[in-house]
Symmetry: C2
Subunit: 143 residues, 2 copies
Amino acid sequence: MVVDQLRAQLSDEELDRLFQAFADTTRRDIVRRVTVGEYSVSGLAALYAMSFAAVQKHVAVLERASLVSKEKRGREQIVRANHDGLQRARRLLDEYEVIWRQRADRIADLLAETATTEPDKTQTGTGQTKNTQSNKTEGTTEG
Amino acid sequence: MVVDQLRAQLSDEELDRLFQAFADTTRRDIVRRVTVGEYSVSGLAALYAMSFAAVQKHVAVLERASLVSKEKRGREQIVRANHDGLQRARRLLDEYEVIWRQRADRIADLLAETATTEPDKTQTGTGQTKNTQSNKTEGTTEG
DNA sequence: CTATTCTACAACCAAATGGTTGTAGATCAG
DNA sequence: CTGATCTACAACCATTTGGTTGTAGAATAG
């Protein structure tokens, strides 16, 4: 299957490039287009109200982010979607979602415990509240 | 439930802000932190090798993208994760995934058809191949 | 009240971004 | 061969971005 290299961790720079690539309307549109059909660079350029060179740069940004790849066909360069890049982005956001759910579970757990043992400690219900300036050492997974 | 406003379509500018917000290592780390626990702005600033003002700006970027919100507590400003923003980002990538799968299905369909009716038309297997310069009018959902 | 802490915001700077035009190399059509 | 097309890339420009320092207001501590 394709699941093989999806397991690989992404470096910070890769993630920067990945989300940076998505952070532009034209580039998101290009990704959508080349996911559906096949386009040459000039074929894409004809779709937008900007120069060929500008579109070329957008494609280059997407390529650096591993979201598309180019394949030379005659004098044209065919731009194709790279599904792996998309899946990597989705996987990261899914990880955040997992963290969020774990947090929700932990809070529910804490609330349940304090409710049965110490019915007074129910502060604001968000866990760490940090009194004076102790939150600079809360890190759970930091270096 | 929270599903209410998730149905809403996101404007291009909102998506730009959303992905731009994710396109920085420090900001992704902040999102992870505030998803797990509660941090004041200065509490976050203490975690990174940059000035308070820099972290303040990162938080502002995340806030503009609806990924976090701030809540004044005494003289502190507590930064909290905004789950909606995260879910919006995930939803968009899921849409791309749907488009990708539809394409895969359509191609499989086409291949199956051409295989039974015209056993010769199996080009490269990627659908539209555009001969001369006709791909500038391929748009399916434009205009 | 005074001093400290936390925040907000302005001004500034270097680098990156998103766009342009121009030049030049390959490839295809006639 | 000649001309048209497609691509690549350099140079340039305006704006944004990610960082800094400095100033000032609010809330807390003593």
